[in-house]
């Protein structure tokens, strides 16, 4: 009975490795993912389902782009900005990419300091991550405004295949929503870390359960996933 509470993570027993380990883990009763807290396993499974959603969006983009006989607008020119009288291709998207990567860097360090139980550094790094994320969304709003002013609509644009607009708004819109939700998620958890909820064993107001610093890693997984999706969008939509 003492081991009934299985929500509290790691298992001290040594387990076989390699392929034998996969068979042993999956054939064991109750939990397949040993040494992984349930919250983290569930976040991974959610992210897997989200991967399929973004895959479908990118696939539909690929399909409409390859199947149209009208030329596709050149993203390098569409997303260029004129800075100081010089036309620089794709510059805003490049800046957004660097911002999102930086936010992933600060998030990874927040996870590290969370496990080291350094409340202050964890909370500050999470706030920095959220600030990067918010500025990313701000730049995306700027980009949308610019394109809408230039006449891009989900059903047409001045430069070529009308499917460009629908793919663009769907893919970047869905990704931007993910970033915005991530910022809210980060702020909520950063507040709890700052207040010391995970040291004082304060119960969550909604779940009435005690949390611990694993939530920082789980938040981090979501955040890194948002960065990961952007890697694919950047390569397949903006650079292709």
């Amino acid at each position: 009975m003492a081991q009934a509470a299985m929500t509290e993570t790691a298992e001290p027993i040594s387990r076989p490795d390699g392929l034998r380990g996969i068979v042993a883990d999956f054939s064991s009763d109750q939990r397949a993912f040993k040494n992984v807290p349930w919250g983290k396993a569930m976040m991974w499974i959610f992210l897997l389902s989200d991967t399929f959603i973004f895959s479908c969006f990118l696939l539909s983009y690929m399909t409409v782009r390859w199947s149209t006989e009208v030329p596709w607008p050149n993203p390098s020119e569409v997303f260029s900005l004129t800075i100081g009288g010089q036309n620089i291709p794709l510059i805003l998207i490049a800046i957004m990419t660097f911002i999102l990567i930086s936010s992933s860097g600060t998030m990874a360090m927040a996870v590290k300091f969370g496990y080291a139980r350094d409340r202050k550094k964890t909370a500050i790094l999470m706030l920095v991550t959220a600030a990067f994320g918010a500025s990313f969304v701000g730049m995306q709003a700027f980009e949308w405004t610019k394109l809408i002013h230039e006449g891009v609509r989900p059903w047409g644009n001045p430069w070529g295949a009308p499917q460009f607009g629908s793919s663009f708004f769907l893919i970047t819109g869905f990704h931007g929503t993910h970033v915005s939700i991530g910022v809210i998620f980060l702020l909520a958890i950063a507040r709890k870390v700052w207040r010391g909820d995970y040291d004082s064993q304060r119960k969550g107001f909604f779940t009435s359960r005690k949390g611990n610093y694993e939530i920082v890693e789980i938040t981090g997984l979501y955040w890194h996933f948002v960065d990961l999706v952007w890697v694919f969008i950047f390569a397949l939509f903006y650079l292709w």
């Binding site: 993570t9 790691a10 387990r15 390699g18 392929l19 380990g21 996969i22 883990d25 999956f26 397949a32 993912f33 040993k34 040494n35 992984v36 807290p37 396993a41 991974w44 992210l47 897997l48 991967t51 399929f52 895959s55 696939l59 690929m62 399909t63 409409v64 782009r65 390859w66 199947s67 149209t68 006989e69 390098s76 291709p89 794709l90 490049a94 990419t97 660097f98 990567i101 992933s104 860097g105 990874a108 360090m109 996870v111 590290k112 496990y115 080291a116 610093y213 694993e214 890693e217 981090g220 997984l221 890194h224 990961l228 890697v231 694919f232 950047f234 390569a235 397949l236 650079l239 292709w240």
Partner: protein, 109 residues
């Protein structure tokens, strides 16, 4: 119990800083592919290469997948690979659509 876990997923900060730096360099490379207007096979092979390297670094280091047990790695990373079958199907489908469109819209049959 938490300490046992902390031991497994607490890594030196240098690992993260190095990954961060590498991601910056790889992103700069993929931006330069566009900046220098590389075209054709060279362009898309470089784009895909940098994309996969960046994705791998994020998943392996930032998301700690490199330190997880194989059961989780396979459960999470294998299903997305199967999406490639879907990619192949839709590539064939879009080729077919393009051929029919060219036949009807351009040739005016």
């Amino acid at each position: 119990m938490e300490h046992a876990h902390a031991k497994t997923q607490a890594h030196p900060i240098g690992v993260y800083l190095w990954t961060w730096g590498l991601l910056f360099v790889l992103s700069a490379f993929s931006y330069l592919v566009d900046y220098f207007h590389l075209q054709g096979q060279l362009r898309w092979s470089l784009i895909l290469l940098f994309m996969m390297l960046k994705a791998g670094l994020i998943v392996a280091v930032f998301m700690h997948m490199a330190w997880e047990r194989l059961a989780l790695i396979y459960a999470i990373l294998l299903p997305p690979v199967l999406v490639l079958v879907f990619v192949a199907l839709m590539a064939l489908e879009s080729d077919y659509t393009l051929i029919t469109r060219e036949l009807f819209f351009k040739a005016g049959l």
